[in-house]
Symmetry: C2
Subunit: 217 residues, 2 copies
DNA sequence: CCGCATCCCATGTGATACTG
DNA sequence: CAGTATCACATGGGATGCGG
């Protein structure tokens, strides 16, 4: 039941024993964004087999990375304080991976949690601090997010109702939004080519979005 | 041949597809410390099967993380510029894993490269900057390292001959050195209990070592 | 229903042997 | 030295079942 080890005594080795097995890092990623129920995790990781999810949850608990939330009627998983310390590492790792992403294949999905982590990785607080507070509503391949930027603070939350929010800019995009964030595509061309479709608000704010969230290879 | 994917389009997912398979992260760790030949990698990862090492080297090359060094007579592997960008992530991940290490089991090994990465993770540049430049010679379970600290700079290299170096402090230790770095054991008790055995130089400098390299849970 | 556990088969991994 | 080849075995994937 314990994760397979490498027979080596070192930091990287230990880290990989804790979160290096298949799917484990993605489970921790989602839990870093908030407590989740078993079904929510399964929904956020559509291709994970249920037996693997169950096994990983046990292993991560045994490793002290996550735990079941105490004094809760229903079963809820959350990161432990030690697991929480993975947060900056996760953001940096996500940024590195983001830079290595090519164009999306048709069958690839984007989940709210993966999108949220990517936004956090691409977020440039120092740039945002120079811009007015802004609320964006984004819909990317089914994932709907409410993105609030205020000074150096970023808050991303999953919202079911996008339309009736007081957003400054609402837009829908395919995974091609990656090209907007990487700078391969400017805001205006993104709209013109249909990569980004403005649903409401001021289309000119897409440039502000691209300045706020930027991660180039 | 390509790494198994997760069917998801996101930074963390991509990162795990690139370096998430078993042994891949350890190979990159070693290559981040310098170019290595196939045999050197195999020696630094004693328990990796040769077919797996060969497979990972191919995959990491296809992923653009490592490459064969150009215009070299012999075959040498090295990180690409993109792979080099993993360095800060690796150090942070190693620090996180280090904090999660318990006491070593008897069969666990320490390699020069794993020890070097742990030292880098535990290195406190801001503390070192306040201390005189110091050269340490350390021998930990067969791994011999020459550790030079000068201001905010850290240089660790593998040296075969430890004795005839102008080191300020030379010591041998078991994996229990982890307790010295984590602060669970002070310098004097470490020497008294035999966890650290001073081979030469000023034993009082072990306190400086413990101040320079510190990583607590 | 939610939170898993079981089953079976495909694939990946490990140990060893072998080769250009 | 730098890998391949082979085969036994462990793990992952997908479907399904089941108890609280």
């Amino acid at each position: 039941m314990a994760a397979r080890d490498y027979g080596e005594y070192g930091g990287i080795t230990r880290a990989m024993e804790l979160v290096g097995e298949r799917w484990a890092m993605l489970i921790v990623r989602d839990l870093l964004l908030g407590p989740r129920r078993y079904g929510e995790l399964a929904a956020g990781l559509p291709r994970i087999p249920s037996n693997i999810l169950a096994a990983r949850l046990k292993e991560l608990q045994a490793a002290g990375v996550i735990r079941r939330a105490p004094r809760s009627r229903v079963i809820i998983y959350e990161v432990t304080p030690y697991g929480r310390e993975l947060e900056p590492v996760m953001v940096a790792l996500g940024a590195w991976g983001f830079k290595g992403m090519g164009d999306p294949r048709e069958e690839q999905i984007i989940t709210p949690d993966s999108m949220t982590m990517d936004l956090r990785a691409a977020f440039r607080a120092s740039v945002a601090a120079t811009l007015p507070a802004t609320v964006y509503g984004a819909r990317v391949r089914g994932a709907e997010l409410l993105i609030r930027v205020d000074g150096r603070a970023l808050d991303v939350r999953r919202e079911l109702t996008l339309e009736d929010r007081p957003v400054d800019l609402a837009f829908a995009a395919g995974p091609g939004i990656h090209r907007l964030i990487s700078g391969a595509l400017g805001p205006e061309p993104a709209i013109e080519t249909g990569v980004v479709r403005v649903l409401g608000g001021d289309p000119g704010l897409l440039g502000r979005f691209a300045s706020t969230f930027h991660l180039a290879a």
